[in-house]
């Protein structure tokens, strides 16, 4: 059996709802003798799974079910409240890439900024800059400040950098929802190439066909729990049923 690269055991995560949070020195000082109840939201509850070397694992679930939080925990961006995450290989997260650039810098400087954050050396980045720009189809706009980019162009650039910075494990959030058909096809081809080369993948998508096509196994997350784990096609079908049931319930007239 292939070795485990990620082991997640009994992970739980709770957030304080921002509206009930004291956020300023003034609020803390004024409310010192008047404790305000903190509203907490449990996003993940005892989630356990493992990812093995060379495996492609899909993660599905409705909005707010905890997928993005789980990816950030596995990527080491968020700490856990309880449970354990063991990561035995180098991870490249590809998360929230459509947003957050330095708008005052051009594409080349932003490539260096994002690439070094993702673990590439400057030498590697300089050698790969042309390839990154070509992948994103942005060669003509290499010296244009990011403030002038459309959201689609910025997202393409981000995915091009991230797909070049890959290490042993890739964690991808809705990666095939960006760009036009040509860009999507290039992303999908790169994904296949990396998978074939033995990289492990953890892929989040709302699209059942994407999970069924690109993943070996999948998890269905619902209300912070793993509702179902198994073959990717089975999980994708169950997710579709879940959406159909939800649509039927919301379409039903309310009894008085």
């Amino acid at each position: 059996m292939r070795p485990r690269v990620i082991e997640v055991a009994g992970v739980s995560k709770t957030f304080t709802i921002p509206s009930s949070r004291r956020e300023t020195v003034r609020e803390h000082a004024l409310d010192f003798f008047r404790p305000r109840p903190q509203e907490r939201l449990r996003v993940l509850e005892s989630v356990s799974f493992e990812l093995r070397q060379g495996e492609s694992l899909g993660l599905m679930g409705r909005n707010g079910c905890g997928k993005s939080t789980l990816l950030k925990i596995v990527s080491g961006i968020y700490p856990v409240d309880s449970g354990r995450v063991d990561v035995h290989a180098a991870v490249t997260p590809i998360l929230e890439l459509g947003v957050g650039w330095n708008p005052d810098l051009d594409a080349i400087d932003n490539i260096e900024l994002l690439g070094t954050v993702m673990g590439m050396t400057l030498k590697q980045l300089r050698a790969a800059t042309d390839e990154i720009l070509e992948f994103a189809e942005l060669e003509k706009f290499a010296h244009l400040e990011l403030r002038h980019y459309s959201s689609g162009m910025a997202a393409r650039l981000a995915y091009a950098v991230a797909f070049r910075a890959v290490r042993e494990v890739l964690i991808l959030d809705e990666v095939f929802a960006v760009g036009d058909a040509g860009f999507k096809e290039r992303c999908q081809q790169r994904y296949r190439d990396l998978h074939r080369a033995g990289h492990s993948m953890l892929l989040v998508s709302h699209e059942p066909r994407t999970i069924a096509t690109f993943c070996d196994r999948a998890l269905l997350l619902e209300g912070g729990h793993i509702l179902l784990a198994g073959a990717a096609e089975m999980v994708a079908s169950r997710y579709l049923e879940l959406l159909t049931e939800e649509a039927a319930i919301s379409a039903r007239p309310h009894a008085r």
């Binding site: 055991a9 009994g10 957030f15 956020e23 300023t24 020195v25 003034r26 803390h28 950030k72 925990i73 990527s75 080491g76 961006i77 968020y78 700490p79 856990v80 409240d81 309880s82 449970g83 354990r84 995450v85 063991d86 990561v87 035995h88 290989a89 180098a90 991870v91 490249t92 997260p93 998360l95 929230e96 890439l97 947003v99 957050g100 650039w101 330095n102 005052d104 810098l105 400087d109 260096e112 900024l113 994002l114 070094t116 954050v117 993702m118 673990g119 590439m120 050396t121 400057l122 980045l125 290490r167």
Partner: protein, 263 residues
């Protein structure tokens, strides 16, 4: 019962040197619009200020030729303190878009945030040394070495304040306004516009507890008087620096793991 832990393998030699250089370079480029002209223009501000103060106080306090240098050194060092701690306080919020994308130590963005202020300080120091040399008051090599060492300690102090303030700012969103008031008040605590001798000696210990004070006084002492402060004074400065850096690092260490959630 499950343990609370995230364990990771070493992910190779992280290219932090490349990240540090890129953050410094891009901050510089953003501030100076990526042009040498922009950089020169930005340096003209402290240079003009230097010349104006020199001209005005050569005339106003003509009877005390040292006062203008005391004032200029105090003003510029305090300006460095204000500018770099403000940048440090805002650093994690400003670079939040990087911290939510990948895992890397956020202290790197805090420490590199002072780079522009450091560049200005180096430029000011060179201008000051050249001016002192040109006016026949060239400091000795020992004085220049000590002055440089004080600036390294000042950077450590600024780092301590910045580490604490950057993570606390994520929890206290008006901390920047509070810090602005503190540094404005601190301007009058540090003996910048007045000589420390006009205050009773029993108050000096309180003034020295405000970290810019010993740095400013020691810098003036070695550059202008050629007088090296005592060993005890240096030890106290080292303890104060270690304390600020240590407490700052401790606060950072306690709060940093959760900053990505607060962005």
């Amino acid at each position: 019962m499950v343990s609370v832990a995230i364990t990771r393998v070493r992910q190779g030699h992280a290219p932090f040197a490349g990240l540090v250089w890129t953050l410094i370079r891009t901050d510089f480029k953003t501030r100076y619009h990526g042009t040498i002209g922009g950089f020169v223009w930005a340096l003209l501000k402290p240079l003009t200020m230097f010349l104006v103060l020199l001209a005005v106080f050569s005339y106003v306090f003509a009877t005390d030729p040292q006062y203008k240098f005391d004032l200029i050194i105090g003003l510029f060092l305090y300006e460095f303190f204000q500018e770099s701690t403000k940048a440090g306080l805002l650093s994690i919020r400003a670079k939040g878009y990087l911290l939510t994308k990948a895992r890397f130590p956020s202290w790197i963005v805090v420490v590199t945030s002072a780079s522009n202020a450091v560049i200005t300080l180096i430029f000011f120091s060179l201008v000051l040394l050249m001016f002192l040399g040109g006016s026949g008051r060239a400091p000795s090599i020992t004085s220049i070495a000590l002055y440089s060492a004080y600036q390294v300690l000042f950077f450590a102090i600024v780092t301590g304040f910045s580490l604490a303030a950057s993570v606390l700012f994520m929890r206290y969103r008006d901390l920047n306004q509070v810090w602005e008031v503190v540094t404005h008040a601190g301007f009058f605590v540090a003996p910048i516009i007045y000589p420390i001798g006009i205050l009773p000696e029993r108050m000096h210990a309180y003034l020295y507890a405000w970290p810019p004070t010993p740095i400013i006084l020691f810098s003036r002492s070695v550059l202008l008087d050629g007088h090296v402060p005592s060993l005890i004074a240096h030890l106290l400065l080292l303890i104060e620096t270690a304390l600020v850096l240590g407490v700052g690092a401790l606060i950072y260490r306690l709060r940093a793991p959760r900053v990505a959630e607060e962005l």
